[in-house]
């Protein structure tokens, strides 16, 4: 019976996720929104498949949050913190403090007293680490400037929860706050509670350092993989229980445990052990958020809640944009940053229940706040979509309109288009041989950065005829196309071939497909960007396996010659395949073909080194 219930619940959750997430993803809305919708659908107010009486859903949600925060904590390596200390403390600090004050000000204006107003401000200051990081990663924006800034601010918010949890009891309205749910049931004064928080934090850190690490070392030495994973889970669950016992948030406790273990030598092992659970647990969490949305409450006060959600998002967005501007974030990146973090966060749920327990805010306001934060999280994917579909395109279409730099170097023999991770190496090698090179790049940030390092780089689009003229394309000998944008690269090739037929082209090829297309355009000097380093690695691997260095090197060279030839042969072969599907098939079969031919082909002949063997 028990098992049946559990299995049924698991079935419902998994079915909801499998049914809705792919649809949301197909519609370009991201997986987060899919999970949230799944939660709403199976929640107590629609299908009521889960959470009869509210207990089930919140119980599972709690576990999702707890696990997620453990992983977030594991990611928080001290050296990563240190590298981002400027953006974290500066930008993150400004965001938390300004948002707290602004929201508190608004709350005061609508007649809420100062202490609860401040509490609401702190509750709303956090954004959703789960949604923002998940979505930024999904859209490949995490390493952009806007993504990095978002990450830094999220880190600060994660840290800020600790002092906020310590401060919240001090804001209790009556001054004799009673924690009704406190397990030990004793009355504690706010200062005592603050003391308990500090004490528990200290205990976790000290325990993690001096107790947990030796235990893990011992377990690791046993080489029992599943016991190691079990121990990690035991630690998380244990801390969660202990935190509940003293009436603190289990999520905070496991988060701290994660941070402590992030410093240990077993971090990677823990991460890879728990990584498989991460996606599903996050999904579970989002489903729980969806299920916890109190639909009747929203139905009874739709305007109030809509107003609250709108104000929350607007205030956070404006402040984030302002802060981004202050930190000189480029405009398009600043939009990404502001849209990414304009929602309320999962910590808010923890803080709301904590604040309600300490009678900082009353339960009615607490319920309103939960609905507001949850709805703002539902809105988050839409905000990303607005940014992606409406805001960002206006920047990329503006890009070519931006004036290209005046080029004052005309007689250089080489034009280098693209000065990123590929082009800059080419540029440096040429520079060391004192070859004068005119460098063009389309990434304004990159141009800025490289110029600071004293390299002369011109901003401009190398596929534009007048820019190529200005760069001296009619007198130069070579143009090196080192950009990673395949379409643009082919555009440059076409322009050069049409207008500067004497200019020799050397092109970086992103992969086989790009290589084929370049070859079709008649570009012979193609360089697949990963070929060189993967061959270097193969040589190193062969040497570690006991091959003599020269033998390994020759094997790689033989492969390279052979592969360069194969690419050229397959390029002709793939010309008539115009259909996309046919091309995909082609790629698979040609890889198979490569392996087949390889087995039958003799290596580079070096029989000359063998003693004569008359037959």
């Amino acid at each position: 019976m028990e098992t049946e219930g559990l299995l049924f619940q698991a079935f419902v959750y998994l079915l909801a996720a499998v049914a809705t997430v792919p649809i949301a993803k197909q519609l370009g809305l991201g997986s987060v929104l899919g999970y949230l919708l799944a939660g709403v659908i199976i929640g107590p107010h629609l299908l009521a498949l889960v959470g009869h009486g509210g207990g089930g859903v919140m119980h599972v949600a709690e576990f999702g949050v707890v696990m997620m925060l453990f992983l977030v904590g594991l990611e928080l390596r001290p050296n990563l913190l240190w590298r981002l200390r400027g953006p974290i403390v500066g930008t993150g600090g400004a965001q938390v403090i300004l948002t707290t004050l602004a929201v508190a000000g608004l709350a005061l204006a609508i007649g809420i007293r100062i202490k609860p107003a401040l509490a609401i401000g702190m509750i709303f200051s956090a954004s959703s680490t789960a949604i923002a990081l998940q979505t930024l990663t999904e859209k490949g924006l995490l390493n952009s400037k806007g993504g990095q800034t978002s990450f830094s601010v999220l880190l600060f918010q994660d840290l800020a929860v600790i002092p906020i949890l310590a401060i919240l009891p001090l804001l209790a309205v009556s001054g004799s706050a009673v924690s009704p749910s406190s397990a030990h049931g004793a009355e504690v004064a706010p200062w005592q509670r603050a003391l308990i928080v500090v004490g528990v934090v200290a205990a976790i850190i000290a325990g993690g350092r001096f107790l947990v690490r030796p235990v893990f070392r011992y377990l690791a030495s046993l080489r029992l993989h599943e016991i190691f994973t079990a121990a990690a889970l035991l630690l998380v669950v244990g801390i969660a229980l202990a935190m509940q016992k003293v009436g603190l948030s289990p999520a905070l406790g496991t988060f701290l445990a994660g941070v402590v273990l992030a410093e240990s030598e077993y971090r990677h092992e823990l991460e890879s052990d728990i990584e498989p659970f991460k996606g599903l647990l996050l999904g579970l969490f989002f489903i729980s958020v969806g299920a916890s949305i109190d639909l009747p409450l929203i139905k009874s006060q739709p305007l109030v809640i809509a107003g609250l959600v709108f104000s929350l998002i607007t205030v956070k967005f404006l402040l984030l944009f302002f802060i981004g501007k202050m930190t000189r974030l480029e405009k398009s990146q600043n939009f990404t940053f502001a849209f990414a973090l304009a929602q309320g966060g999962e910590f808010a749920f923890v803080l709301i229940s904590f604040a309600a327990q300490n009678q900082v805010i009353d339960q009615r306001i607490g319920n309103l706040l939960v609905a507001t934060v949850a709805l703002s999280m539902v809105m988050a994917p839409f905000l990303f979509t607005i940014n992606e579909r409406l805001v960002q395109p206006s920047f990329s279409s503006q890009l070519p309109d931006r004036e290209a730099d005046e080029i004052d170097e005309k007689d250089n023999p080489v034009i280098l288009a693209g000065f990123g991770r590929f082009g800059h190496i080419v540029g440096r090698v040429l520079n060391l041989q004192r070859i004068k090179t005119t460098v063009l790049d389309l990434d304004a940030d990159q141009v800025e950065l490289v110029r600071k390092l004293g390299v002369k780089v011109f901003y401009g689009d190398a596929s534009r005829l007048e820019l190529l003229h200005a760069a001296g394309a009619d007198t130069a000998k070579l143009i090196i196309i080192a950009i990673d944008d395949e379409e643009k690269s082919l555009l440059i090739v076409e322009t050069v071939q049409k207008h500067f037929p004497k200019l020799q082209i050397l092109a970086r090829a992103a992969g086989r497909d790009h290589a084929y297309r370049l070859l079709h355009h008649g570009v012979d000097h193609i360089f697949r960007e990963t070929l060189g380093s993967s061959l270097d690695l193969s040589v190193a691997a062969l040497r570690m396996l006991g091959f003599r260095a020269y033998e390994a090197q020759r094997a790689a060279k033989a492969f390279r010659d052979y592969d360069e030839q194969t690419v050229r042969e397959l390029a002709q072969y793939s010309e008539d395949e115009s259909q996309l599907i046919a091309q995909a098939k082609q790629r698979i079969s040609s890889l198979d073909e490569i392996f087949q031919i390889e087995r039958h082909r003799s290596p580079q002949p070096d029989a000359g080194w063998d003693p004569p063997q008359p037959t």
Binding site: K557, P605, D610
Partner: protein, 210 residues
């Protein structure tokens, strides 16, 4: 088979080995002088195989499609630059260049054309190099013989370190060009080879040899 009576021009392959041609004063000029001659193929080994991975098949094809092989290089430590030695090791395979079935090079002519920094006077018993150039080139001579080829008296330009005079260099360049052209046109008298130590002697004896 190259003889003086052959009506067709011989095909000449120049196997050139110089690891730092950009610093060369004499070899670069020599190369330029013979590079575009008809029926002469220049195989610039260091340009072809900068990573020493000699394409054996290609090299053997080249050898088979030519009648006369010229090994042109500076003399490094009484021998050739390293890549040419690697070339020998890999290309002159058993069963191709030597052994019962290794007859692919039989009857071809082979010439060593070298430059030396020191003067001829240093290459004798009382000189700093003790041995004569001809003696020092014995390994090449025997390699060629072992492969069934005819070893020609070597073409030598010595004392290149002291060679500052433009006219003198131009003189050597013209001499080398004449040597290659004569080989191609079959205008050498094979009987003369036994009577001289260096090809230069024959060329200088008959300035208008043709």
């Amino acid at each position: 088979m190259p003889t003086s009576t052959e009506p067709m021009a011989n095909k000449v392959l120049i196997q050139f080995a110089h690891p730092a041609l950009q610093k060369s004063r004499v070899n670069r000029r020599l190369i330029t002088a013979v590079r575009n001659l008809e029926n002469v193929t220049l195989n610039d080994l260091y340009e072809e195989y900068p990573d020493f991975s000699v394409n054996v098949r290609r090299e053997q094809q080249l050898l088979m499609s030519h009648d006369i092989i010229v090994f042109q290089h500076p003399l490094y430590w009484y021998s050739c630059p390293a890549l040419l030695k690697e070339w020998e090791d890999l290309v002159l395979q058993y069963g191709f260049a030597y052994g019962a079935q290794g007859t692919k090079l039989n009857g071809k002519w082979a010439l060593t054309a070298i430059t030396t920094g020191g003067p001829t006077s240093a290459y004798q018993r009382d000189g700093s190099n003790y041995f004569t150039i001809r003696e020092l080139l014995r390994p090449f001579e025997q390699t060629v013989r072992f492969c069934g080829m005819v070893y020609l008296p070597p073409f030598v330009i010595s004392g290149t370190l002291a060679l500052k005079n433009e006219d003198q260099i131009a003189g050597y360049v013209a001499l080398y060009r004449r040597a290659v052209e004569s080989l191609r046109d079959g205008s050498f008298d094979a009987g003369e080879f036994e009577h001289v130590s260096y090809l230069n002697e024959i060329l200088q004896r008959s300035p208008a040899a043709a």
